[in-house]
Amino acid sequence: MTQLNEALLRSLTPSVLTVLVRRGADFAAAEDAVQDALVEALRVWPAGPPRDAKGWLVTVAWRKFLDATRADAARRRREDRVEEEPDPGPAPAVDDTLQLYFLCAHPSLTPASAVALTLRAVGGLTTRQIAQAYLVPEATMAQRISRAKRTVSHVRFDQPGDVATVLRVLYLVFNEGYSGDVDLAAEAIRLTRQLAAAIDHPEVAGLLALMLLHHARRAARTAPDGSLVPLAEQDRGRWDTALIAEGVGILQAALARDRLGEFQAQAAIAALHADAPTAEETDWVQIVEWYDELTRLTDSPIVRLNRAVAVGEADGPRAGLAALAELDASLPRHTAVAAYLHERDGDPATAARMYAEAAHKASDLAERDHLTRQVARLNTRRCQ
């Protein structure tokens, strides 16, 4: 299958699914049928792609649904209402896609279930692809998805939902670090673009801008050996300027509407980094101001920790350490931040000791390796 075909196939998934639901299929059965149709499309399209891709998918998915329902009906005798294939119905409303996002991110779902269901029902990924992306067996992922569908089975499809829950799910998908066959960051961007087309909401725009601005740095984030390159040391020539321009444009339009939210504020910080030709030219004063906004919006301890880093850059390492001292020392990355600020304050011995402690506590492998390298760098320098 060519990439174009697969992209087309996946972009059609939500509208095919909503056609089935509008014809009277319940969500769980319709979703299974669409998944079966996608798998069949992946099998037969490479040999002969249909002229009307969506029509093909609707026909095949509906047939799969009828087959499954008939098999069911043999046991349960509840076949009548779906025996006849109904008219295709009116053209799908944009709103249907939005309903699908709401359903898949329903607050009754755990984050992991919402992520899996969104990737399958809205994203059109196969269970196998999702399982590979999250490094679990396909059988486990299949069960996670069917449990998620059971959980939302009581939810009416046309019930209004909360955009904030959808944004959290998309943020989680984007932030997932694993790289497998499926590019989850690119998929999150695609789904957020699609959402932005379905609903006019400044925070949706804010999240899309945030994703684009971070995605723009992707090539510069890792060295050829796979190690992490910190923002200050990244080769800014490798940042994707087209993505940055797009992200900044979307952000500015969102900010102009004067309905600030956490994703717009995070995107603003990313945009200020993107705007600096060199790390030294970063406008840290403005970044601190945005962190103050973010603290007001979320009051998250992680935000306060990142703010302490920014204060250390804007007002010097002593000020950063003072801001850090107000925070709970058990916060993730607290020790790593302290180590960095102590080094900048001219105390490499304390920095080396704290980097070693931070490496021991690190919860991700690349972060641990990065911190261990800092210890090695400082210890080597001191021994010379």
Binding site: A112, L135, P137, A139, T140, Y178, H273, N306, V309
Partner: protein, 135 residues
């Protein structure tokens, strides 16, 4: 979601409450123990939390590089090795609390007399991949 390793030890863990070695159980007690483990894994698959489970033979060897062009050196097993892993289960769960809850259930597997072993299991978080958004 976060992945955790549940480690079972042949030795090296603190003594369990029901501390009768498996070779002194009745065949029915061994079967009941195995059934409990299999049912536990099957239940976790249904909840979408199972990743992997494997058992290890107690006998193994130590292997090391012995220089260019030479075959690796094998040695052991060494009787003084304190820690001996018996097997593992890997779970993918929403929280640390859930991981502890599941480890507790697995530790209740029946042993001698059909009573829970109260076996100490080692619970270790996986190191993850870095998040995309860091600042």
């Amino acid at each position: 979601m976060a992945k955790y390793l549940l480690l079972k030890h042949y030795r090296g863990a603190p003594a369990p409450a029901n501390d009768v070695p498996m070779d002194q159980w009745t065949p029915e007690e061994i079967s009941a123990h195995m059934q409990y483990m299999n049912d536990f894994a099957a239940r976790l698959e249904k909840t979408g939390e199972f990743v992997d489970g494997q058992a290890l033979a107690p006998e193994g060897a130590w292997v090391r590089y012995d220089g260019e062009g030479r075959p690796p050196v094998t040695d052991g097993p060494f009787a003084e090795t304190k820690d001996l892993i018996a097997g593992w289960m890997i779970i993918d769960v929403d929280s640390y609390e859930r991981a502890v809850e599941l480890a507790g259930e697995l530790s209740a597997a029946p042993g001698a007399g059909g009573k829970p072993i109260h076996e100490w299991l080692e619970l270790r978080p996986f190191l993850t991949a870095p998040p995309t958004i860091t600042e």
